[in-house]
Subunit: 245 residues, 2 copies
């Protein structure tokens, strides 16, 4: 690939984020500006937990298909970042501290009872995608992390400013992601730029990134529909009095 073609392709990936990343979704504006009720925050914590909980499974599915031990070695730390190295460590347990901080029973959140079916369908589609698609789209689908640092910074500032539950412990998940995500995505982006040479490969990688933005957007649409407007909670999903600590 010429330097020019590489630059154009990288710009194309960034453009997908400009147009489709879920920082544009109105739920995030509500959340970061302090306009969410505590129950809306809880609904977000419960549903987003399901996504968090599936990320290491997604990365394990990826590892299970990689023949090069050096690539596996680099990718493996993503699982460690989320699952931790012992009690009280790792992104999932940090997320459960957030759950406790907003008044939810962490065991209820962990059970994934009450997660919106639409959240499950979207997240499960992501795990399946990484398990079944070729390695190039599988890696490319992780590149939404290119757009994550800004939303994490906005979230940390917005939560701390606007909600009583926010403190160093409850937002530690996002604080850690600020340093983890850029490291991950620097590798992922370089890998995709190196391997997406032909037009067909670049198209497949771009389509994978679009798919991933859809996975994220779909979750917020479901959350907004159920708990903001029109506020129609699907049969069986979390009701605001359930799962409290």
């Amino acid at each position: 690939m010429t330097d020019q073609s590489r630059e154009q392709f990288e710009a194309r990936l960034h453009q997908i984020g400009e147009e489709r990343y879920h920082d544009k979704h109105p739920f995030h504006h509500l959340l970061h500006s302090g306009q969410c009720t505590i129950d809306q925050v809880r609904a977000w914590v419960i549903n987003r937990y399901y996504y968090q909980s599936r990320i290491p499974m997604k990365d394990a599915a990826f590892l299970s298909r990689v023949e090069d031990h050096r690539l596996r070695r680099i990718w493996r730390h993503r699982i460690e970042d989320h699952d931790g190295t012992g009690e009280g460590t790792g992104g999932i347990e940090r997320w459960l501290k957030l759950a406790a901080g907003v008044g939810l029973d962490p065991e209820y959140v962990r059970s994934a009872v009450g997660v919106l079916p639409s959240t499950r369908f979207a997240v499960d589609a992501y795990v399946r995608f990484v398990r079944e698609e070729p390695l190039l789209p599988a890696v490319a689908s992780s590149l939404t992390e290119l757009f994550a640092p800004k939303i994490h910074k906005d979230r940390i500032a917005g939560l701390l400013k606007n909600y009583d539950f926010a403190n160093a412990e409850t937002i530690s998940y996002f604080q850690h992601r600020l340093s983890e995500a850029p490291k991950d995505v620097a590798f992922g982006l370089e890998w995709v730029l190196e391997h997406a040479i032909s037009q067909a490969e670049q198209d497949a990688a771009a389509a994978a990134l679009i798919f991933k933005t859809e996975v994220l957007w779909s979750q917020l649409d479901a959350l907004h529909s159920a708990y903001v407007a029109p506020g129609r909670i699907p049969p069986g999903a979390w009701q605001p009095h359930q799962g409290l600590a």
Copy 2:
């Protein structure tokens, strides 16, 4: 299974429909009562087409796992009902007549471009479920057809009464389903009642039916959110000026 236990289990399945079937979703009330705009009807036709188009793939996935040729023989006609026996026959081509009747280009609808990502995630989850789960839940997930005749009758009456596009040709899909679905579900129900003996089996069958109601409900939530209220169309999904004939 005693007759009593069988009756209780059958009642449990019906209760799931009472509580969760998508005839309770407000989008269907809008559609059947003539309160949908033509663009909302088009959005429904485009998205529901994706579901229709995957049903024979779902049934083929099921066939591919059945060892008993007699069960395969009985189940096979579901694929024939949808795919037809020649040009102009079968449920999918009847659905495309509805698409043409509401002013859409059938080729656009067939392309599945513009289908809501949440629709894809839900429908793909259903195909995956039938491909991967044990045969009992796979069959049980089809039992939403127990509740279909009423909604089809309401739909036929409501469309004919309230919309200029409705006529014998455009609604022929639903007219055919009125005779096809009860035949299918009579067999499916009997099969499930025969094979779900233990409590664990009955629970698995009930969970599969609940899962399927979630697949249907999720599609209508996505449709309602995108095209009714708040009317927030996700990036890349169908916009009302697209795909017209």
